[in-house]
C-alpha cells in the first residue's frame, strides 16, 4: 500500500507535552472537505495526520461544531458513520485508516551509505508528514519505531532526498545519490552560513569529495568545468596556481577571486590538503559578494575544512598514487628536416655553400630529452572524535607531485587541527590550525621552450672527458653535456640540460606556513549570538641556492670548457604576515510570518610582506665554495664578504571595515537580502580611504503559492534577482607587477638610482611613478536574475542565471613615455561582462542496485570594454610581446578585453607578378615572392600599419562541463568532460622569434613556400624577411577544445567483507585525469592563462599531462 500525504509544511509553535495530551480546539465548519478539516486541526494543535488518499477520499464533506473540545472527541465525532478509524502514535502522529485495518508499530533498522558505498553519518531519517525521526550514527545505522505503513524520508546535505515506504519491513538499507544542487543545503556566506533557500544569490557548493581524490596539489585545479561561471585554466607545473576567473574578466588589474578559508581572507589556498576539505562554495552574484567589500568583485571561493561530527571516534586513511605522462607534444623538425630547411634558408639568403655540421650528428627529440614520466602520491591520515563538550579533528598528509619536466618535484607536508569546546549551553570556543611545509620544485618553467629551440642535431647525452677538477687542480673524469655550436645558435638558445642537470639539486626552497584562528561564540537574550574570531596567517619562504662549477663541451671541436666559472650562494627569506579579526553580531527572530536574520560586524585585515635576499661569492683568486650543503649560506668562510650583497623589500597595508546584512522572508515565500560594507584602506590617499559597497536581492519561491499545490512537476521553483555595487582592490602596472603603495610614489633604488662619478658612487632620487591624490578602488555594478528549480521528485535540479557586471573606474597604469612622463595609476574607463549560465543535474535510481547521475553546465561569456581612461588618448591599452612587440594584445573601447591585434594573412606572394597586382605593402618592409600577403583591411589600396585589426579573442564564447556517473552496488563509474568554445590562441613560437635567434623549425615549416604554388600559408624561410615576423593570423590558432577531464572507477566493499577486519568503510578507485583532449592548436595544450589584459599566449610551454592514479580510502 502506497501512502501519499498532503504537503504538511505549516509551522507549529505549540509544543506537545506528552502523548495523548488533551489539546482542546474550537472549530465550527459546515460542509467542509474532510481533508481541509484535518489540516485545520493540524494547524490548531500539535497533531499530525497520516492517511492514504484512498482512505480519506476527496469530496468527503463534513460538518464540525466543537467548542473547546479535546481533539480526540472531535475526531471521534467526525468519523462516526464513516468507515474510518484512527490510532495515535508517538509524537502526536495520528494514523487514519479504514475501519478494518489495524495499524502496527514496527521497529525499523537500517544502514545508509552513499552511492559510492561510503558510510553516511548524520543522515536525517524521518517519517513523512511527521516530526518523528532520527539521525544515522557514525556507522551509518539508524533505528526508529514507525507505523508499518509509514513512508521514510531520508535526506542528507549534498544528496538527493529519497522516500521509501516501510511496507512492514524491519530492515531498510538505503544508498543515497549525491546531488550537487540542493535547495535545502546549508551554504557558507560571508561571515556565517545560511540555508540556501533563504538566499537570493547564486552560490554553488561542491563537496570536498570532488577534490579529495583528484591528483591535483592545488584543490582549485579540480574545479575545472564543474561550476557554471567559473573559468579554471590549469597549467602543468606542480603546485602552480591555475588562472581562475569568475564570470569573466572584470578588470585590467586583479581578476582572480578571493579565497575565504574557514573565514580568513586569502589570495591562495596552497596550504590546504585537498583531503581536508569539507566543501567548496563558489559565490558569484552581487547579493552574495557585497559583504566582501573591496575584495568581492572578482568572486569568492570559500573553503570549509573538515570538522568532527557528533559520534564516535573515526580514523580515516587515504592514499593515492599515480603517474603523469605528456601526451600532446608539439611537432618540430627532425635533424634531417632541419638540414634541408636550413640549407634552403641559406640559399634564400644567397649562401649556397653547404653548412659545416661538424660535431652536430645527433637526431635528438629535445622534448623527449627534457621530459619524463612523473609520479604523484598523496597519503592522508585523519582522526576525529567527539564528546558532548568537545569535538576535534586532526589530519596529517604528505603529497609528492612530480612534473613532467625532469627533476621537477614538489613535496608538501600538511597538518590540520580543529577543536571546538562547549563551555556551557551558551558559550562555544574553538581553534583551527592548518600548517604546511612545502618543498618548491626546481624552477623549470622555461625548459620546454628552451628545448624546442635547440636544433635536433645537438646531442642530449653526455660525453666522458678528462678535465681539470674545477674545484682543485687534479684531473677528473667527467660526464659532460654538449654546448651548442655558437656559430649556428647562440643568442638566447641553450642546451637546457646543461643547467638543469647540473643545478637542479643545488637549491633548497621551503615554505613553512601556519594559518590558525581562535573564536569565541556566545548566545544570549535568546535571539542573539556574538562571535569573535582572530586569525593569523604566517609564512616564511627560505630559499638557498648554490651555483656549482661545471663543464659543457664544444661539439664542433669536441673540447670541454667551463660553462659555469664561479661559485655563488644566494639566500632569500620572504615572510608574509596576515592578521584578521572579525566581530560578528547575529540576531535571528521570527515575527509571525516574518523571518529575519540580521548581522552586523566589524573586521580588520593586515597584510605585511618582508623579504630579504643576499648573495656572496669567493673572490676571483680564492678557493671556490665547495659543493656541499653545509656552505649554502652567505657567510661560509669561502665567500668574500666584502663583496656580498644584501637587500630587502617590504610592504604592508591595513583595512578596517564595518558590515551589515539582513536576510528576511515572508512565509518562506518572499525573500529579501540586503548587505552593506564600508572599507577603509591604508593604501588609498588619506582623504579618500573609505569606500562603500552594497547589494539587495529578492527571491520568490513559487512552489509555496497555493496555485502550485496541484501540480506534480516542480518540487521547488524559485525566481531570484539581485543588484549591487562591489569593489575590486587592485593596483598594478599593466604587466601585473603590483604597486604596493599606489598613494605614495616610491623612489627608484639600486642600479637606476646609483650615479657613479669616476669610481665614486652617489645616490640619486627619481620617482618610479606619479602620485594620484584622487585614487580609489574599482567598483563593479552587478546585476543578476535567475531561476532555480527541482522537479520530478527532486530528480532534476536546474539553475539558470543571467548576469551583467559593469566595472567602473578601472585602475589604469598609464604610460606617457611619449611626452617623457613617468607612469601614473589613474581611475578611468569601464568594462562590461555579461552572460548566461545554465546548470542541471539528474539523479535517478534505475533499480535497487543501479543509480545514475547526470550533470552539465554551460556558461556563455561576453566581454566588452566600454571606455578607457581619457588619459589614454589613443584609447588603446596595448601589451606587446616577442621581438619588437609583434604579438599584441589590445584593450580598447568597443572590443573584448585583451583581444589579439595584427594583420590578416591572405596568403603568400607566389611570384613577382602576384606582387605587382596586389596592394603595395612596402611600408611594412621589403618583401618578395614567398612572403606573407596581408589583407587590405581598410580598403585604401595599400597595406600599412592601419590594416591591422582584431585577429582573435582569448575569451571563449562559451565554456561547458558535463558529468555522468553510474553506480551499481558498490561500483561507481564517473566521467567528467569539459571544454571551451570560440576563443583564439596566439602562438608565439615558430612564428615570431627574434631575428638573431636560430631555433629549430616548427614542423609546419616543412610545408613552407619554396616556389610558386608550394604553399599559400607558410612563408618562405628567411629570417631577413622581417615582414613575415609581424603579428598576424599566421600566429592565431583556434582555442576550442573538449577534454575528458576525469574518468574514475571506484568500488566500495560491502560490510560483510570488511566488518570482520573492524573496518567501517573501504573504498578503492582508479582515476585518469586529462585522458584525451580534442583540440585544434599546435601547442602542448589549448589552455593558456595570463593576466587581465594579456592571456591566451602559447609560449611553447604549459604542457598539461595525463595523470593516472589509483587509490584507497579506509575508515576505521
Amino acid at each position: 500500500m502506497k501512502l501519499t500525504t498532503a504537503l504538511l509544511l505549516f509551522t507549529c509553535f505549540q509544543v506537545s507535552a506528552k502523548v495523548f495530551s488533551q489539546t482542546r480546539i474550537t472549530l465550527k465548519l459546515q460542509a467542509t472537505e474532510l481533508k481541509k478539516v484535518l489540516s485545520l486541526i493540524e494547524r490548531k494543535s500539535s497533531y499530525r495526520f497520516l492517511y492514504n488518499d484512498e482512505t480519506v477520499k476527496a469530496g468527503t464533506r463534513v460538518d464540525v461544531d466543537a467548542s473547546n473540545e479535546p481533539v480526540t472527541d472531535v475526531l471521534d465525532k467526525l468519523f462516526v458513520g464513516r468507515s474510518l478509524s484512527y490510532k495515535i502514535l508517538e509524537n502526536d502522529l495520528v494514523v487514519i485508516t479504514g475501519k478494518d485495518i489495524e495499524v502496527q508499530e514496527t521497529r525499523v533498522t537500517g544502514k545508509i551509505v552513499s552511492s559510492l558505498g561510503e558510510v553516511l553519518q548524520g543522515v536525517s531519517v524521518k517519517v513523512k508528514g511527521s516530526t518523528l525521526g532520527t539521525q544515522t550514527d557514525a556507522g551509518g545505522n539508524f533505528a526508529l519505531t514507525v507505523p508499518d505503513n509509514a513512508v521514510l524520508v531520508i535526506s542528507y546535505i549534498g544528496y538527493t532526498t529519497q522516500e521509501i515506504a516501510v511496507s512492514g519491513r524491519t530492515s531498510i538499507n538505503v544508498s543515497l545519490v549525491a546531488s550537487t544542487q540542493k535547495m535545502d543545503e546549508v551554504v557558507v556566506i560571508g561571515y556565517g552560513t545560511a540555508n540556501k533557500r533563504d538566499l537570493t544569490g547564486s552560490i554553488v557548493k561542491i563537496s570536498g569529495k570532488e577534490v579529495a581524490d583528484k591528483p591535483n596539489t592545488n584543490p582549485v585545479a579540480s574545479l575545472q568545468a564543474k561550476v557554471a561561471g567559473l573559468s579554471v585554466v590549469n597549467n602543468g607545473t606542480p603546485g602552480a596556481a591555475p588562472d581562475i576567473r569568475i564570470r569573466g574578466t572584470v578588470s585590467i588589474g586583479n581578476v582572480h577571486p578571493l579565497y575565504v578559508v574557514d573565514g580568513i581572507f586569502n589570495d591562495n589556498i596552497d596550504y590546504i590538503n585537498p583531503n581536508d576539505i569539507e566543501s567548496i562554495e563558489v559565490l558569484k552574484d552581487p547579493s552574495s559578494l557585497a559583504i566582501f567589500g573591496v575584495k568581492g568583485a572578482t568572486g569568492v571561493i570559500a573553503i570549509t575544512t573538515k570538522k568532527a561530527r557528533v559520534g564516535q571516534t573515526i580514523i580515516n586513511f587515504s592514499t593515492t598514487y599515480g603517474i603523469k605522462k605528456l601526451v600532446d607534444k608539439i611537432k618540430l623538425a627532425s635533424g634531417e628536416d632541419f638540414k634541408t630547411l636550413f640549407a634552403e634558408e641559406r640559399a634564400n639568403n644567397g649562401i649556397t655553400t653547404p653548412y659545416d655540421y661538424t660535431g652536430l650528428t645527433a637526431n635528438t627529440n629535445w622534448i623527449d630529452a627534457v621530459t619524463r614520466t612523473g609520479h604523484f602520491s598523496n597519503n592522508t591520515l585523519s582522526i576525529s572524535g567527539s564528546t558532548d563538550k568537545n569535538r576535534f579533528n586532526l589530519g596529517v598528509g604528505y603529497i609528492m607531485d612530480q612534473g613532467i619536466i625532469r627533476h621537477e618535484e614538489q613535496g608538501k607536508l600538511l597538518i590540520s587541527f580543529s577543536d571546538e569546546f562547549r563551555v556551557s549551553k551558551a558559550i562555544r570556543l574553538g581553534v583551527n590550525l592548518n600548517a604546511s611545509r612545502t618543498k618548491a620544485p626546481y624552477d623549470a618553467t622555461g625548459v620546454l621552450d628552451q628545448a624546442r629551440k635547440v636544433v635536433p642535431l645537438v646531442s642530449a647525452g653526455t660525453q666522458r672527458f678528462k678535465v681539470r677538477n674545477p674545484y682543485g687542480s687534479d684531473t677528473i673524469d667527467a660526464n659532460i653535456y654538449s654546448g651548442l655550436n655558437v656559430d649556428l645558435q647562440n643568442s638566447g638558445v641553450v642546451n637546457p640540460l646543461v643547467q638543469l642537470e647540473n643545478e637542479y639539486n643545488k637549491v633548497k626552497n621551503f615554505e613553512n606556513r601556519s594559518v590558525g584562528s581562535v573564536f569565541a561564540e556566545i548566545n544570549f537574550l535568546k535571539n542573539f549570538s556574538f562571535k569573535a574570531t582572530w586569525y593569523a596567517d604566517m609564512s616564511t619562504v627560505n630559499k638557498r641556492q648554490y651555483t656549482p662549477l661545471y663543464y659543457a663541451y664544444n661539439p664542433v671541436n669536441n673540447t670541454p670548457y667551463l660553462q659555469s666559472q664561479s661559485t655563488k650562494v644566494s639566500e632569500n627569506d620572504d615572510s608574509y604576515k596576515k592578521f584578521q579579526q572579525d566581530y560578528i553580531l547575529n540576531w535571528k527572530k521570527s515575527f509571525g510570518d516574518h523571518n529575519l536574520t540580521a548581522t552586523a560586524g566589524f573586521t580588520t585585515y593586515y597584510f605585511g610582506y618582508f623579504g630579504r635576499s643576499g648573495s656572496s661569492r669567493p673572490n676571483a683568486t680564492g678557493q671556490p665554495i665547495p659543493d656541499d650543503q653545509r656552505f649554502w649560506y652567505i657567510n661560509n668562510y669561502f665567500s668574500d664578504l666584502s663583496s656580498a650583497t644584501g637587500s630587502s623589500n617590504q610592504n604592508e597595508y591595513f583595512t578596517v571595515s564595518e558590515l551589515a546584512r539582513v536576510l528576511y522572508n515572508y512565509k518562506n515565500k518572499y525573500y529579501l537580502n540586503g548587505s552593506f560594507r564600508d572599507d577603509a584602506s591604508s593604501r588609498l590617499p588619506i582623504h579618500n580611504q573609505h569606500q562603500q559597497f552594497w547589494a539587495v536581492g529578492a527571491a520568490w519561491d513559487i512552489t509555496r503559492e497555493n496555485f502550485m499545490n496541484n501540480q506534480h512537476i516542480f518540487d521547488f521553483l524559485k525566481l531570484k534577482g539581485s543588484i549591487g555595487v562591489l569593489g575590486n582592490q587592485t593596483a598594478s602596472q599593466l604587466d601585473g607587477t603590483p604597486i604596493n603603495y599606489p598613494a605614495y610614489p616610491l623612489l627608484a633604488t639600486g642600479n637606476a638610482a646609483t650615479v657613479p662619478f669616476g669610481t665614486d658612487l652617489h645616490t640619486a632620487a627619481s620617482q618610479i611613478y606619479i602620485e594620484n591624490p584622487d585614487l580609489k578602488w574599482e567598483t563593479v555594478s552587478a546585476k543578476e536574475v535567475g531561476v532555480e528549480l527541482s522537479a520530478f521528485n527532486n530528480r532534476l535540479h536546474f539553475e539558470a542565471n543571467y548576469f551583467n557586471k559593469t566595472t567602473n573606474n578601472l585602475l589604469t597604469y598609464v604610460s606617457r613615455a611619449a611626452i617623457g612622463l613617468k607612469d601614473e595609476l589613474i581611475n578611468g574607463g569601464s568594462i562590461r561582462n555579461w552572460g548566461e549560465e545554465f546548470s542541471a543535474t539528474w539523479s535517478q535510481n534505475l533499480s535497487k542496485d543501479l543509480s545514475l547521475n547526470l550533470g552539465g553546465n554551460i556558461t556563455f561569456l561576453n566581454n566588452k570594454v566600454l571606455s578607457l581612461s581619457k588619459d589614454l588618448p589613443t584609447g588603446v591599452l596595448s601589451r606587446n610581446f616577442q621581438n619588437n612587440g609583434a604579438a599584441e594584445s589590445r584593450t580598447q573601447p568597443g572590443m573584448p578585453i585583451g583581444y589579439f591585434y595584427g594583420f590578416v594573412e591572405q596568403g603568400i606572394f607566389q611570384s613577382y607578378a602576384d606582387i605587382l597586382k596586389s596592394p603595395v605593402q612596402s611600408s611594412l618592409g621589403a618583401y618578395q615572392p614567398g612572403d606573407i600577403k596581408y589583407k587590405d583591411v581598410n580598403g585604401d589600396g595599400k597595406i600599412t600599419s592601419d590594416d591591422r585589426t582584431m585577429i582573435g579573442n582569448p575569451t571563449p564564447k562559451f565554456m561547458y562541463g558535463g558529468s555522468v556517473s553510474a553506480t551499481f552496488k558498490g561500483l561507481t563509474l564517473g566521467i567528467d568532460i569539459g571544454g571551451v568554445y570560440g576563443n583564439q590562441i596566439f602562438r608565439n613560437w615558430g612564428a615570431l622569434e627574434s631575428p638573431f635567434q636560430r631555433t629549430n623549425y616548427a614542423a609546419d615549416k616543412i610545408n613552407r613556400w619554396h616556389g610558386p604554388g608550394t604553399s599559400n600559408w607558410v612563408p618562405i624561410l628567411n629570417q631577413a624577411d622581417r615582414i613575415n615576423f609581424l603579428g598576424s593570423t599566421y600566429s592565431i590558432e583556434d582555442g576550442s577544445y573538449v577534454r575528458i577531464r576525469n574518468v574514475q572507477l571506484s568500488y566500495n566493499f560491502g560490510q560483510r567483507l570488511i566488518s570482520g577486519a573492524k573496518i567501517k568503510n573501504l573504498r578503492v578507485f582508479i582515476n585518469v585525469q586529462n585522458l584525451k583532449t580534442w583540440k585544434h592548436n599546435s601547442g602542448y595544450t589549448p589552455e593558456f592563462g595570463g593576466d587581465a589584459t594579456a592571456f591566451g599566449y602559447d609560449n611553447a610551454g604549459g604542457a598539461i599531462p595525463m595523470i593516472s592514479t589509483a587509490g584507497l580510502n579506509v575508515t576505521f
Binding site: 566581530y583 616610491l746 662619478f757 632620487a765 611619449a818 612622463l821 618592409g925 600599419s945
Partner: protein
C-alpha cells in the same frame, strides 16, 4: 559586547590606516632632494637607452657613410633598413626609445627646476643643481632639434598629463630655449667638478655648458658665438688635448683613463670587482659592450660584446694608412690588435668568416682592458665591457670648432693654427717637420674647409659626429645619396605613438606623411 571592537577602532583605526610606505618617498628626503634629483639626470643619461645605447648609436653613428650597424647580418636587421638605407620607421623600438628617453630627461629637468623655483633656493649648491638641470634639458633639446627639426617644447613640470600634449614648436624656438638654458647653466655651473665636493669627477661644468652651447651655434652657423664660447673653454685652462690619441680611449683599473684631460662631458659608468656576477657593484652601461667584437663562430674568449657600430669598407678605403689614428680606430679581423702603441693588448683576432665583420670599432676596444675584464669577471661567455664611459664631448671638438669658425669668418691663420693642434697631436706630437699628417697651411677658405671637414672625419670617426656634420655642411645628399639618403632624411619622422598619444595635436613631420 559589540561596543568593544568599535571602541578599539575609535581609538586605533586612524593609526591602522595611516600607514606610510616602509621605504622612502621624495618627501622623506631633506633639503638634498634637489641634489638627489639632479643626480637622477645622470642616472637617466646612463640608463636610458636613448642616450647611451643602441638607439643613440643608430641615430648618431651608423647613419653616416663610415659606420654601419655591424654584428651578424640578421641581428637587428630592421635597423639596417631604418638607419643605413634610410627607410625611416615611425614605430619601432629604437626610434621610439630615442624620442621617449629625451623627453623623459626633459621632464626630470623640468621637475627639478620647478622644485628649485618653488623653494626659491639661492644657495650655491642648489644654484649648481639648477645649472645641471638646464644643461641636461638643453642637451636633450639639441639632440631633438637636430634629429626631428620642429618638436614640442615642454619647459614646465607637468601636473595634469594633458598639459604635456603640445603641438610642435619651430626649431628656432627650441634653439631659443637652448640658449636660455645654457645661459643659466654657463653662469651657475662650476669651472671645475671639484667644486661639487670630493668624488664628483666628471660632473658637468661650465666648460661642458659652453662646449655644448658652441655646438648648437655651430649648427646655426653663428660663427662668432662659436668662437667666443670655444675660446672661453680654452681660456678656462681646465682642458687640454691628450698627448697620446689612444689614451683618450683607455678605461682601466681604478678608473684609469676615465675623465682624462680632454674630457668635457662623459657618460659615467662604473664596474667594481666581479661586477659580472655581483649586481651590487655593477653600475655600468652597454654603450661599451654594444661596440665590442662579437663572438660569431669564434671561441668564447672573443665573446666581448654585441659587435655594433663597425667601420665601413668606405672608411677603411678612404683613410690613409699613414694616419696613426686609423690604427687606433679600426680593428681588423684576422690581424694582431696592434699592441700597446695603437691601444691594443697583443691579441690576434680570429679571421673574418669566423667573426662576422672584417672591421671593428677599436676606440671602444681600447677601453676593454683585459685587466679590467679579469677584475670585473667579464670573461669568456659573460663577455661585456660595461665599465666604459661614453665620451660625449671632448676638447678636440672645441679646437676643431674653432678652426671651422675661424675659417668661415675668414681668419685663415687661426683656422690653420687650430687644425694643426689636432694634426700634430694625431701624429704623436712629431712637430712641424713631420712627414705623416703634414702641416696644412692656409691657402684658400675652400681648401681649408675641406681640410677641416676631413679632419673632423678622421678625428671623430665612429664617435657619432659625422652624420650631423654632413647634414649641416649640406654634404649629406652627395655623400649618403648612394645609400638611399634624400633631403627629407635629415629629419626623422616623429614616432607614431607620440602622435597617437597627442590625439592629433602633434602633427607628423610633413616630409614623412
Amino acid at each position: 559586547m559589540a561596543a568593544v571592537p568599535l571602541a578599539i577602532c575609535f581609538f586605533g583605526c586612524k593609526k591602522m590606516l595611516d600607514r606610510r610606505p616602509l621605504t622612502a618617498t621624495l618627501e622623506d628626503l631633506n633639503q638634498g632632494k634637489i641634489e638627489a634629483q639632479s643626480l637622477g639626470l645622470y642616472s637617466a643619461l646612463r640608463n636610458n637607452a636613448g642616450f647611451s645605447l643602441l638607439p643613440w648609436i643608430d641615430f648618431h653613428s651608423i647613419r653616416d657613410d663610415d659606420a654601419e650597424k655591424g654584428s651578424s647580418a640578421t641581428d637587428g636587421n630592421e635597423v639596417t633598413a631604418e638607419f643605413e638605407t634610410f627607410n625611416y620607421s615611425k614605430d619601432d623600438w629604437a626610434p621610439n626609445t630615442y624620442w621617449n628617453d629625451h623627453y623623459a630627461m626633459i621632464n626630470l629637468a623640468n621637475n627639478e627646476l620647478y622644485l628649485a623655483d618653488s623653494l626659491k633656493v639661492t644657495d650655491a649648491a642648489s644654484l649648481r643643481n639648477i645649472g645641471e638641470a638646464r644643461f641636461f634639458r638643453a642637451y636633450s633639446y639639441f639632440n631633438l632639434v637636430r634629429t626631428y627639426g620642429d618638436v614640442p617644447l615642454l619647459t614646465q613640470k607637468i601636473v595634469n598629463p594633458a598639459d604635456g600634449i603640445k603641438a610642435k614648436s619651430p626649431a628656432a624656438d627650441i634653439y631659443a630655449q637652448i640658449d636660455a638654458d645654457l645661459t643659466i647653466a654657463s653662469q651657475n655651473l662650476p669651472l671645475d667638478a671639484s667644486s661639487y665636493g670630493k668624488g664628483y669627477t666628471g660632473r658637468v661644468t661650465q666648460g661642458a655648458a659652453n662646449a655644448l652651447w658652441a655646438q648648437t651655434y655651430l649648427f646655426r652657423q653663428n660663427w662668432a658665438k662659436v668662437i667666443g664660447l670655444c675660446n672661453a673653454v680654452v681660456a678656462s685652462g681646465k682642458y687640454s688635448l691628450s698627448p697620446k690619441f689612444v689614451d683618450i680611449w683607455k678605461d682601466g683599473l681604478s678608473g684609469a683613463g676615465k675623465n682624462g684631460p680632454e674630457s668635457i662631458f662623459e657618460m659615467q659608468a662604473y664596474d667594481g670587482a666581479s661586477a659580472a656576477t655581483n649586481s651590487a657593484v655593477e653600475y655600468g652601461s652597454d654603450f661599451g659592450t654594444s661596440q665590442q667584437v662579437r663572438q660569431g663562430g669564434a671561441s668564447v674568449n672573443w665573446n666581448l660584446g654585441w659587435g655594433w657600430n663597425t667601420p665601413t669598407q668606405n672608411l677603411v678605403d678612404a683613410w690613409d694608412n699613414s694616419d696613426p689614428r686609423k690604427a687606433a680606430t679600426i680593428l681588423y679581423s684576422g690581424q694582431d690588435d696592434g699592441g700597446a702603441a695603437t691601444g691594443g693588448y697583443g691579441a690576434v683576432l680570429p679571421a673574418f668568416g669566423t667573426l662576422d665583420r672584417k672591421y671593428w670599432n677599436k676606440k671602444l676596444y681600447i677601453g676593454n682592458d683585459p685587466a679590467m675584464r679579469a677584475f670585473t669577471g667579464y670573461i669568456n661567455s659573460s663577455g661585456a665591457a660595461r665599465w666604459i664611459n661614453h665620451r660625449i664631448i671632448r676638447y678636440a671638438d672645441i679646437i676643431l670648432m674653432l678652426a671651422e669658425a675661424y675659417n668661415e669668418t675668414g681668419d685663415g691663420a687661426n683656422a690653420a693654427k687650430n687644425l694643426e693642434l689636432i694634426r700634430n697631436r694625431a701624429s704623436g706630437g712629431l712637430g712641424a717637420t713631420r712627414t705623416i699628417l703634414p702641416v696644412i697651411p692656409y691657402t684658400t677658405q675652400a681648401a681649408m674647409r675641406t681640410a677641416i671637414k676631413n679632419e673632423r672625419r678622421w678625428e671623430f670617426a665612429m664617435e657619432g659626429v659625422r652624420f650631423f656634420d654632413l647634414v649641416r655642411w649640406g654634404d649629406a645628399v652627395a655623400t649618403l645619396g648612394g645609400l638611399g639618403y634624400t633631403n627629407r632624411c635629415r629629419f626623422y619622422p616623429i614616432p607614431q605613438k607620440a602622435i597617437d598619444l597627442s590625439g592629433g595635436v602633434l602633427k607628423q613631420n610633413p616630409e614623412w606623411p
